[in-house]
Symmetry: C2
Subunit: 449 residues, 2 copies
Amino acid sequence: MTRRQLSLNAFIYPAGHHEAAWRHPTSAAERIYDAAYYQEIARTAEAGTLDAVFFADGPALQGDITHNAVGRLEPITLLTAIAAVTERIGLIATASTTYYEPYNLARLFGSLDHISGGRAGWNIVTTGNDAAAANFGLDAHPTHAERYARAREFVDAVVALWDSWEDDAVVLDRAAGIYADRSKIHEIGHAGRYVRVKGPFNQPRPPQGHPVLVQAGASNDGRAFAGRYAEAIFTAHQRLADAQAFYADIKQRAARMGRRPEHVKILPGISPFIAGTEADARALEREFNELTVPAYGLRQLERMTGTALGHLDLDGPVPVELFADAGDVTDNGRSRLQVVAGIVERERPTVRGLLHRLAGARGHRVFAGTPEQVADTIEDWFTSGAADGFNVMPPYYPGGLEVFVDTVVPILRERGLFRSEYTGRTLRDHFGLPRPENRFAGRTEVAAV
Amino acid sequence: MTRRQLSLNAFIYPAGHHEAAWRHPTSAAERIYDAAYYQEIARTAEAGTLDAVFFADGPALQGDITHNAVGRLEPITLLTAIAAVTERIGLIATASTTYYEPYNLARLFGSLDHISGGRAGWNIVTTGNDAAAANFGLDAHPTHAERYARAREFVDAVVALWDSWEDDAVVLDRAAGIYADRSKIHEIGHAGRYVRVKGPFNQPRPPQGHPVLVQAGASNDGRAFAGRYAEAIFTAHQRLADAQAFYADIKQRAARMGRRPEHVKILPGISPFIAGTEADARALEREFNELTVPAYGLRQLERMTGTALGHLDLDGPVPVELFADAGDVTDNGRSRLQVVAGIVERERPTVRGLLHRLAGARGHRVFAGTPEQVADTIEDWFTSGAADGFNVMPPYYPGGLEVFVDTVVPILRERGLFRSEYTGRTLRDHFGLPRPENRFAGRTEVAAV
Ligand SMILES: Cc1cc2nc3c(=O)[nH]c(=O)nc-3n(C[C@H](O)[C@H](O)[C@H](O)COP(=O)(O)O)c2cc1C
Ligand SMILES: Cc1cc2nc3c(=O)[nH]c(=O)nc-3n(C[C@H](O)[C@H](O)[C@H](O)COP(=O)(O)O)c2cc1C
């Protein structure tokens, strides 16, 4: 029997996840709009037999660009360029159900799956940033509940479009002049409140059946959504106990939906500073923290708390009242705020100290240590019901991923926790997820195409 | 002085432009959802130093899939995969202003331009096929006038988004902690009737400033649009005189808009059957025509004319009344019908004869001849005020493009009409188009980002 295997995903962030990475001499901040840079990063991840690379996304300029490299290329096109120069690694892009049309997005992900030979994944988000609304002719960002209501219809429609052509719809009978069996190409007739799509789709079913559905919401609605649809979940936890509670909750929700819990991979974020000694790793983290621009971090914290903070003394304590209404972890859209409130409550940091705690990965867990120590904490969370793998968030790129692949991955392999070579070709293969059946298979009504 | 140079664009169509290409033994119909197939085709076009490759598109399943290979991958992703394995060739994708959101589309084309190092072009269409409406929650396809009204606003917004970052907005001053000069990143504040986009954009200005704007509408509204925005125009003409009239009209319209006529490249379609002798070329065309499925062609003609035609005798004459209301060439959305009406009036074909005439390229000009003869007609149209180059539409792929590149391109080079190697790197370079100035350059208001 082989041991249960870790899933490892490289979360690519332009110069790195640390907000000051772009200032560090080892970062490649000059190259963040250059496809070759990301192709090289993806090849590094593939050399480490990682499951996938992943890009976040939002249809607006987010964050204070004066002090951070917050511009972005569009991730589906970028992953297509990566697909062309890699063979095995999965390719996960974020896209918004609030600000896309399902027919367009189904085509983009379907094509990415065809082009990559079955390696596409979609991180389904409803978009938290309300600046997006004004880029789409809306007076206001739809409410959290409305966004999730639309998201459910949206995903139902997209998945139905992917099923629109049965796997054997194309006949290609040259002699008879029959290209496709049109009784195997179906309208989907999705008529919801937010989304109406008739179909049929205009491309064959993707190689994976459905590109892998990934999700990253943490609210009650988000978790319900995840329990129903998600095949992999990105999540942010500082502490083992919180991660365990989240893990148990999601697995239960999936089971209640009649799904097999092992078909939902839960991947907390970890942002590792890695060096030969723990002291050197901590020094490296400090080096990055000292490059932060306090005005930038304060602005991020202001957006998170919704309060003006310009008056705070950087070296004074964080006022605990700031987080008085952080509320329950399942509050709408405020899960990250709750993570931060926990840090403040436990650690009573100065304002500067809190900014440094958040600078690494926006509330995700930052860990400084030796390769052994990083492998230990990964194994610990993996074997104690907190994670099925990790969303690896290198504080700086490309070096931070290289050191992870070169030093941590070999240890995980030695321990029998992680593959030494790819055994499959698709992202579903890597994650151990089945290829979904086609809802239309076997139905015989003739579609009017 | 070098002679005025031809622009040549390879219009890629899955198995080929001839509707029976997928049945022909030389076609690669098995590979039409395989990115490698299109990458090979693009490399052939690049070996021939063509200006660009181009994909048509529509967000619906169009045409009778029982008898033709009408499924499609999404073209922007496909061109991104092509970008990754080519160096110089331009990459033009069709996308609809009726069924996209400007912020999303600006990002996709902007990213394609970044990823390809300045090789992107956008064939702007309003989508003729009314089946698309039902895939986007609409009860009806918007009217022709409304589609063009939205198209104008849409393109204004997209182009403004591409200008949102001035070329020197990114400062990347590590020491000072300044990533960008935010006074050089602008909101666009587009508030129209159909399109409202605030901005700013979330990526740097594309390498070309603006990806090249291509257009293919032929109605009055379409021509007005082209005169204002288009830098290249795809068009369908059977006869030199019609092409000359169109050419003169568009160049005049551009001049009236204050543009330089040579900055609008007019590219009629030509679908060449090429062989060592004219007789062999004609025999090859016949071979393809004999593979057509009459039910398919009739159905296409029914959609074009809006009349049921199932009762017609294939070997009887085409009833001229069918085209009685084809109207003027500038009638809305009916320009192709007018081309067909011209064929019927001049040639008085049988129904089968007409279906064969249209089978080659849906009303575009089909030409069977030797390489010399193909080069002659290209030179003739080019030097007599009918064309600045051609949209080359091989009847079958990949062979039909290979024979064009191997036999016709060398003749055009010998005659000094076409480049022997690329002299530039971007699609604008190939077409001889200037890089547009940024509308915001020099303005100093501080954008609220
Ligand atoms: C690893 C990770 C990546 C995320 N990436 C994105 C993203 O790219 N775009 C986005 O709008 N939200 C992103 N989110 C935010 C979530 O989608 C979600 O909005 C947030 O966790 C709040 O949860 P809720 O939406 O269920 O209230 C991400 C969250 C996590 C944990
Ligand atoms: C070479 C060529 C390619 C075209 N490609 C498309 C296409 O991909 N998608 C589309 O909806 N229309 C396409 N069209 C149609 C035109 O955009 C336009 O709708 C048609 O010529 C009718 O003109 P009008 O829209 O101005 O009435 C194409 C036309 C030509 C000549």
